[in-house]
Symmetry: C2
Subunit: 453 residues, 2 copies
């Protein structure tokens, strides 16, 4: 094991293939269903929204899919990302654990999201799409897609939840710098948005409404398609570059396989991107990590949701997906980790959770902010609120090692920096960050909205 703090790879070591876990599972995940017919959706149902290559990737049974050269050429701008040994954090904690974090905040958009935004924009451009639409909450996904579209010369139109549009102008500005058009959602330019504005002129919007608007515009124009930043199989697939690089970096560092892999989950894509390649190795007998998802206590789809068919959006426009869900009517309390405030979960991860391939815990946000500040003081990097959930669980595990004396190897994904979350940190320093208790009746009420199929 070497003495480095930061294990870098040359860009010639960017992975050339994405890893698809589905053929390695004992059974495939249940298919998405058409809400009208109750039958599995086919490529023809998805073609108005997605290019054929992404539809093919969504249902592929191949273990590996080649990454196009044109995607690699954009990945080069920030990949391979560094794997850090958190030596200064270990020292601050006084733990015998060896802590590693894979840092995705070096991307232009500052998170792991460009790993999938770039191939999505590429395949769209290659198949003649002239414009991509999408929704965004605080703006991490919207800014990643804006960046990606700029690389391939296609237009990008983003519906941004009005509350964030008004209160968090900086990521909106970032999207515009990269050339995207940004609308506050609900907007008057779609039927879905206009209807809501007619009833509620002051609507603060929601991700569900923004999805409806983006989908409506994409469906109406043959040269416009829609892009989603998490949840779907092809998104998780693209994110496996994270774990593939980390495997190479563990080998380069002479480190044994991790004992615990920890990631935060909203839709699940950064967590999956990190652990899936390590799971492949585990299934092949190389290493035996405990794999742990960390979700916000305010939106605990794994730990308190149920595994059932539900809609991906609030309005009920999407196919039905079997997943861990709190119900598509569930509105999480306003925790600052906006990227984790999603009522459902990746269907693929949900299936794997049912198979017992990983575990899940939930964290309150105050503990997560405290972990982020401890981390920032030791390691310098200021984490986004989302990965601070993973860091809280890493620190918890490291402290267990201190108590037991075990020299465990811990690995997490630091999926983004917190430079656009400074208002949240300001509130934390002012003691103005509440924890939220989520009552069972509130979950039960939201679950009552589940579709009967």
């Amino acid at each position: 094991m070497d003495e480095r703090t930061k294990i870098t790879l040359d860009e010639s070591e960017i992975p050339r293939r994405w890893y698809n876990v589905i053929p390695d599972l004992p059974e495939p995940p249940p298919p998405p269903l058409h809400p009208g017919t109750g039958q599995p959706v086919g490529p023809e149902d998805l073609a108005p929204l997605f290019p054929m290559e992404l539809i093919r990737q969504e249902v592929s049974g191949d273990r590996y899919l080649d990454i196009p050269d044109e995607v690699i050429d954009v990945y080069r701008l920030w990949r391979p990302t560094p794997l850090f040994r958190a030596r200064r954090l270990e020292k601050a904690l006084g733990t015998p654990a060896r802590i590693y974090y894979k840092y995705e905040g070096v991307s232009p958009a500052g998170s792991h999201k460009p790993n999938t935004a770039v191939p999505q924009a590429f395949y769209n451009a290659a198949e003649g799409t002239r414009r991509l639409t999408t929704e965004t909450g605080a703006g991490q996904w919207g800014s990643a897609l804006a960046f990606a579209c700029a690389q391939y010369g296609i237009d990008c139109e983003v519906w941004m939840v009005r509350a964030s549009y008004d209160q968090k102008p900086h990521r909106r500005t970032l999207m515009r710098i990269w050339g995207a058009t940004v609308h506050a959602s609900p907007s008057p330019i779609t039927a879905a948005g206009a209807k809501i504005l007619a009833d509620h002129p002051d609507s603060p919007g929601s991700l569900g409404i923004a999805i409806s608007e983006a989908v409506e515009v994409a469906a109406a124009d043959p040269f416009t398609r829609y892009a989603l930043g998490s949840v779907l199989n092809h998104v998780l697939l693209h994110q496996t570059v994270i774990g593939e690089e980390a495997l190479k970096q563990f080998a380069a560092a002479g480190e044994r396989p991790p004992d615990v892999i920890i990631g935060c989950t909203g839709g699940g894509s950064n967590f999956a991107g990190l652990f899936l390649p390590f799971l492949r190795e585990k299934l092949a007998g190389r290493g035996d990590p405990v794999i742990r998802a960390v979700e916000p206590a305010a939106c605990p789809s794994f730990t308190r949701g149920i595994y059932a068919y539900d809609f991906g959006d609030t309005a009920g426009f999407t196919p039905l997906m079997k997943m861990h869900t709190l119900g598509h009517d569930f509105i999480p309390d306003p925790v600052h980790a906006g990227g984790l405030r999603y009522h459902g979960m990746s269907p693929l991860l949900s299936h794997m959770y049912e198979l017992g391939l990983f575990e899940a815990v939930a964290k309150q946000q105050r503990e997560c902010f405290a972990a982020a500040v401890t981390f920032a003081k030791a390691e310098g990097i200021l984490p986004a609120p989302e990965p601070s959930h993973a860091l809280a669980a890493v620190i918890e595990e490291a402290n267990r090692c201190t108590a037991s004396g075990e020299e465990k190897v811990l690995l997490t994904a630091l999926c983004g920096h917190g430079h656009f979350d400074m208002t949240a940190y300001e509130r934390y320093l002012a003691g103005d960050i509440p924890d939220f208790e989520l009552s069972q009746p509130r979950i039960d009420a939201a679950l009552a909205s589940l579709p009967r199929i």
Copy 2:
């Protein structure tokens, strides 16, 4: 010449020595003078403010100074920084030039400033300093010093110009996360601040006032010292890690020495850090780059200032330094590149400019913002307003190459990202960024304040 976009180095290649250009110059720069006696200041004059090792470095005649292991161990968190070949920008411009940029925004504080903040904090901690004071405008330097002090367990107290303290809270928050105490300047807790508040209760503050406050507090306590983020010889010295790494990266890429090196200048430290090692090579007959400083037209110390002894601060507390200056009373118009709004210039760089070792140009800020947006669309990274001045000059040079057909090799330092400058970009996108004309009578009036010696 290889095909990479990003030339990375392993952390084992972090430079082990800083390069001191002074012994390679035909004559040394004129010494700073004591304002009372008119005699050169000695170590005893500086000892209340700086640790002895930094005073030694300030006047050293050695070509190389060893970097302590404890500093290297913190540099490892982000160094070596990547050298990028701006292939996508070249393509967007259609230029035959080969454009390289050394990216310092990967540091925890997001700029080159930690390169000197870290050794300054280290030497202070090693010599028993318990608290460092400093001033900061928009907060780049203050946040770098806050980060560095956190690494060595010493306190950090920052006087932040009130206008920025109120209008730019995010870097203030960043400093606090790293454990620093941040005061709005003028503050009632110093005599200098209290006096100004008594006369002007609504004073927006200035860097000059903030320096006076930080120096006053440091001078009054034997365990408190003061740190400066640019201008001084030891600061430029520490920044040479930028150029030393770039030299290795040019060699690793199989690229010939640059034809043009371009950097932005406020106090001069990032520009010097990039070009000094290349100048050493040039003086030894290896390469012959044109070296070009770019300053804001609103604060043109090289191109319109005079070379004379002046104070480093507005209040006249510092030693007199011979430098290019617009007069210590000069208040630049409020351009967004806050890091370049300094009335003077590094005395060492000023001396070298007089020796004809580099040239200088001035740019209006609208051209610089336009360059930054062109760059961000092509390369992804959003530049801070300061290096956008260098980018404007790079694009100008690349366009000259397009006209002439010359395949020049251009090198610049992208000294920081713009994540904390989004309000400025928002104004630029709204068409709300003015250029400022600086009249000669205004410069003449400020120069009338020069001390007679």
